[in-house]
């Protein structure tokens, strides 16, 4: 990792270079002049409260003089100018060390015949080409059994970061048979032979290493093994993050692996069982926590031998070994031999941390509870790139609860990330080392430890401040849309809630099968869809509990409906807000999806449906009819409960009601590579009495061969209780009262950190 630091008083500038993949003429090309801009705008941060513009795309522009003349019409690919190529801008010091100034993609490129210089515009790589509408997998899908288990708002952020190349867990091989972050969502696997659902039985939380989905309970990965097992030795490769003791169990096939990865006791070992934990092979130790990126990650190699004896087959041994990094040594094999008849060809794998899995013996139900996340399982030997790829995201809980997370139609991944973080008064930035970092509202409010202090007098050219009334408000109105959950009750004749219905007549050619992608309107479906039935005969409860299909051989609905076996339909959930309905016409003539009146008739129902229809409001401050400077913030759908919305409203009101929030723009500072957006720094200037904390919202570089001018945008952050507590860390109230003896509340308000010194 590069050390990003403040530069020397007399600083020999590094050479700035640009390398573009796929453009030979721009390989380590020396940059003449350049500009880089990174800004934090998407947050409801103090000083920017009305600037909810959403997405901030880092931008750069560099002028290079390539060694060879390059043009868009060049015949040689190496000197042909094209756009959309990945680029790296970096600074190279005279001693050969380099600092990366971000990952970019080339945008517009300008040149001319008369000048050799070429100007290349760059866009932040992570944002580019991701303007695809996104959806979220259904969370909380086992709701009928385990209601009220909302997720933290960082969950959709985590999901979307993964889609734009910032996974908080290794992505694994594209065709890995299972890759389950274990963050509470259904997870479809890429390979058709295997499907998996992650069912979080216990509560989930954040792992100490910043990955989402550490569960203190257990998870079932329902693995349908495609081809039947054949005699011989089979090997699986498994990696997951473990804290404490975790069991991996296939309750159908009887293998069990126990992994202990316990930093508190320094215990790191693995053991295998061939008979579901009734007895175990020798426990084998391995060197724990060998990976800097993934200290809690364990890779397990599991082998089983299936032996054929006459007409039946039996599992005769199970072996496992483990290691804790891509390069550290494997433990010895823990091998356990017994005879266990092959059960069915299907497996159900449980991952359990100190939790009694129903029906599975051998797992102690008592603490110490283990926690786990980021499960990857594969048949082929994965490379270290798959299981140990460096982490690209560091998550933090944003606080709050999403009962039914969903993405409004049309929103892209960065839209989700920024909207969700912003609605929760946080932010997501890509830091100088290329890691996506979630900043919580507490981070942005500076309640954590501030970074290195800045002596404004000696390091900044000036501090031009602005006090803008736009940054205050006398009324805050926070609106949100809670999901209304409707659940089918099959014990009565209650309707199964409808999630989608056709609004036009769908014709089908003879023998035709069509797939209809559908998007629910202000709804999210959780769990299984009801099967399709044809409503014929005597009306019954089944009519309203199942999805409905009705078809005739004419568009008017004349005659009798076609039999249920002739025109069939099935539905597959593709996300919480989308599905695919497949309809097949098995007759030799045209069929029309209509009812007896000739009206469209294709209705999809689900057991559990969340409807987002009722907008609610939480208000703070003056009444709506007297407020002069109201602030309205819509948090839909990233805040879904009254309590959560109230927290946000309180926080916001506290920020905007006080006034006196000044900000500073384009502050030229002494070059300091360690300054970055999202950081909180303490500012001090004794001559003017400045003593404040500020959040860096923009970092701008303007470089040439002569200078690198760095300038910052900042917003002041009010002192918080944590600052006060830090000022009086070991003192009692009596000491405080004595020291503050003659001061009034007004004094404190003006200078809350006066210590009496």
């Amino acid at each position: 990792m590069v050390v990003w630091a403040k530069t020397a008083d007399s600083y020999v500038l590094p050479s700035i270079k640009l390398s573009v993949t796929g453009a030979g003429w721009l390989s380590g090309a020396a940059v003449g002049s350049w500009m880089v801009d990174r800004e934090l705008v998407a947050s409801t941060i103090p000083g920017n409260i009305r600037q909810r513009t959403g997405l901030s795309i880092g931008a750069a522009s560099v002028t290079v003089r390539p060694a060879v003349r390059a043009t868009p019409w060049s015949k040689t690919p190496a000197t042909r100018v094209t756009d959309g190529l990945p680029a790296t801008l970096y600074a190279e010091a005279s001693d050969g060390t380099t600092k990366t100034l971000g990952a970019w993609v080339t945008d517009e490129t300008d040149g001319s015949l008369s000048a050799e210089d070429v100007t290349v515009d760059l866009l932040e790589a992570s944002f580019v080409g991701r303007e695809m509408p996104q959806t979220l997998p259904p969370a909380n899908w086992n709701r009928p059994f385990f209601p009220n288990r909302p997720v933290d708002p960082v969950w959709p952020v985590s999901r979307m970061l993964e889609k734009v190349g910032f996974p908080s867990v290794p992505i694994g091989r594209e065709d890995a048979m299972l890759r389950v972050p274990m963050d509470g969502a259904i997870q479809a696997s890429g390979d058709r032979e295997w499907t998996a659902g992650g069912q979080i039985v216990g509560g989930w939380s954040l792992m100490p290493d910043g990955t989402l989905g550490g569960s203190s309970g257990s998870a079932i990965l329902s693995v349908a093994t495609g081809p039947p097992f054949a005699p011989g030795t089979m090997t699986w490769h498994i990696a997951l993050n473990v804290v404490g003791t975790v069991y991996l169990v296939d309750d159908a096939q009887g293998w069990m692996v126990r992994v202990v990865n316990d930093q508190s006791t320094g215990t790191y070992n693995v053991a295998a069982s061939n008979n579901a934990g009734v007895s175990w092979g020798t426990t084998r130790t391995f060197a724990g926590r060998q990976s800097a990126d993934w200290p809690d990650r364990v890779q397990i190699e599991l082998s089983r031998t299936l032996t054929s004896a006459g007409m039946s087959m039996s599992w005769t041994s199970t072996s496992a070994r483990a290691r804790s990094s891509a390069v550290s040594s494997w433990s010895s094999l823990s091998t356990h031999s017994s005879t266990l008849p092959l059960a069915t060809p299907d497996s159900r794998i449980w991952v359990a941390g100190g939790y009694a899995v129903p029906g599975v013996p051998g797992i102690p139900g008592s603490p110490p509870a283990g926690r786990f996340s980021a499960f990857i399982m594969d048949i082929a030997q994965p490379s270290s790139d798959d299981l140990w790829a460096p982490r690209r995201a560091f998550l933090k809980p944003l606080g709050g609860d999403l009962g039914m997370p969903m993405v409004p139609p049309g929103l892209d991944a960065w839209g989700v990330i920024q909207d969700c973080a912003s609605a929760n008064l946080g932010g997501v930035v890509i830091d100088l080392d290329g890691m996506a970092r979630v900043l919580t509202r507490d981070d942005l409010a500076g309640t954590g430890a501030a970074g290195a202090a800045v002596d404004v007098g000696s390091e900044w050219e000036d501090l031009a401040w602005t006090l803008d009334p736009e940054d205050t408000a006398d009324r805050v109105e926070v609106s949100f849309t809670p999901p209304t959950i409707t659940e089918a009750d099959f014990g009565s004749s209650t309707l199964a809630p409808e999630v989608w219905s056709a609004d036009g007549v769908i014709p089908l050619n003879a023998g035709e099968t069509i797939t209809i992608p559908v998007t629910f309107d202000s709804k999210a479906a959780i769990g299984v869809f009801s099967t399709f039935i044809v409503p014929v005969g005597t009306p019954s409860a089944l009519w309203s509990q199942n999805s409905t299909i009705c078809s005739y051989d004419n568009p008017d609905g004349a005659g009798v409906p076609l039999d249920a076996s002739l025109v069939t339909a099935s539905a597959r959930q593709t996300s919480s807000t989308t599905a695919e309905i497949t309809v097949a016409n098995r007759t030799g003539a045209m069929a029309y999806l209509v009812d007896g009146n000739g009206d469209p008739c294709l209705i999809l129902r689900a057991r559990t449906v969340a409807t987002y229809a009722t907008r609610q409001i939480v208000e703070r401050g003056a009444a709506a009819d007297v407020a002069q400077r109201p602030l309205q913030v819509d948090l839909t759908p990233w805040v879904q409960s009254q309590a959560h919305a109230s927290t946000i409203a309180d926080y916001l009101w506290d920020r905007v009601s006080g006034g006196g929030l000044w900000k500073a723009s384009s502050v030229r500072c002494r070059l300091d590579w360690s300054l970055d957006i999202g950081q909180v720094r303490s500012l001090a200037h004794s001559r003017s009495g400045l003593d404040a904390k500020a959040l860096i919202t923009k970092v701008h570089f303007d470089g040439s061969e002569v200078q690198i001018a760095q300038s910052l945008d900042l917003v002041l952050i009010p002192w918080t209780y944590s600052d006060f507590a830090a000022t009086w860390p070991t003192q009692t109230y009596a000491q405080f009262a004595t020291a503050q003896g003659t001061r009034t509340y007004a004094d404190h308000e003006a200078d809350p950190l006066w210590t009496g010194a």
């Binding site: 008083d9 600083y11 590094p14 050479s15 007098g457 000696s458 390091e459 900044w460 030229r668 002569v706």
Partner: protein, 224 residues
């Protein structure tokens, strides 16, 4: 001959008056040469030709070739203690380092350095030059020098691979009939260097024996 150095710089003052200076990573030199008619020679022809040809032109000053041809800043490291390099104390190189320079073909050239300990055959300084390699394992503290003659003009790559306690400083590549005895140029000259020869100013001075004689003055600027 006066050599003008050209290293762009900028200055920034803080609100309380602290001065911070940023300097360009590279300096580029410029020579103003006068060639009087009496000194006209093959060099004059070469200069005139260089001014009009579109090709790499290399410039070298004989005194600097004999001093130290490596680029400035390449000869010493940044680690204390300093090593006595023939009377000049220089900080030592303790981490592996590769230095690129350029040498002339057919000229007797020396790779020299000082060390404060023997390397036990593991730590070495080596030069890769056109058609050859020179490798020196210092056996004890002191001055080490080794001759080589490049087959043609071309790049030279010096690799310093010190191994503690063997530290190295005062690295030199010099031309001359014998090894250098002292570290003359504190910072190396980076010679030969690539230059641009601007069109010479030409003063017609006299006619002699039916030939016109000219004085020339020419500006040579380092490029690259």
């Amino acid at each position: 001959v006066q050599v003008a150095a050209d290293r762009p710089r900028s200055e920034f003052r803080s609100v309380d008056g602290n001065r911070y200076v940023q300097r360009s990573p590279q300096t580029r030199r410029q020579w103003e040469l006068t060639i009087p008619y009496a000194a006209a020679s093959a060099n004059t022809v070469a200069v005139l030709r260089a001014a009009v040809e579109s090709e790499d032109v290399w410039f070298a000053s004989v005194d600097q070739l004999a001093g130290n041809m490596l680029p400035a800043g390449a000869s010493a490291g940044a680690t204390a203690p300093a090593i006595d390099c023939g009377g000049v104390p220089l900080l030592s190189i303790t981490a592996s380092k590769v230095i690129s320079g350029r040498v002339r073909g057919g000229v007797s050239t020396w790779l020299s350095f000082w060390t404060d300990a023997g390397s036990g055959g593991s730590a070495a300084v080596s030069a890769v030059y056109p058609s050859g390699t020179r490798l020196v394992f210092p056996a004890s503290a002191g001055f080490w020098s080794s001759p080589f003659t490049p087959a043609s003009d071309g790049p030279v790559s010096i690799t310093v691979a010190p191994g503690l306690p063997c530290r190295v400083a005062g690295l030199m590549v010099t031309e001359g009939p014998s090894a250098p005895t002292a570290f003359v140029h504190g910072e190396g000259s980076g010679m030969p260097c690539r230059v641009e020869v601007q069109d010479p100013d030409d003063t017609l001075t006299m006619r002699h024996d039916g030939h016109w004689r000219h004085d020339y003055s020419v500006t040579i600027r380092e490029v690259g």
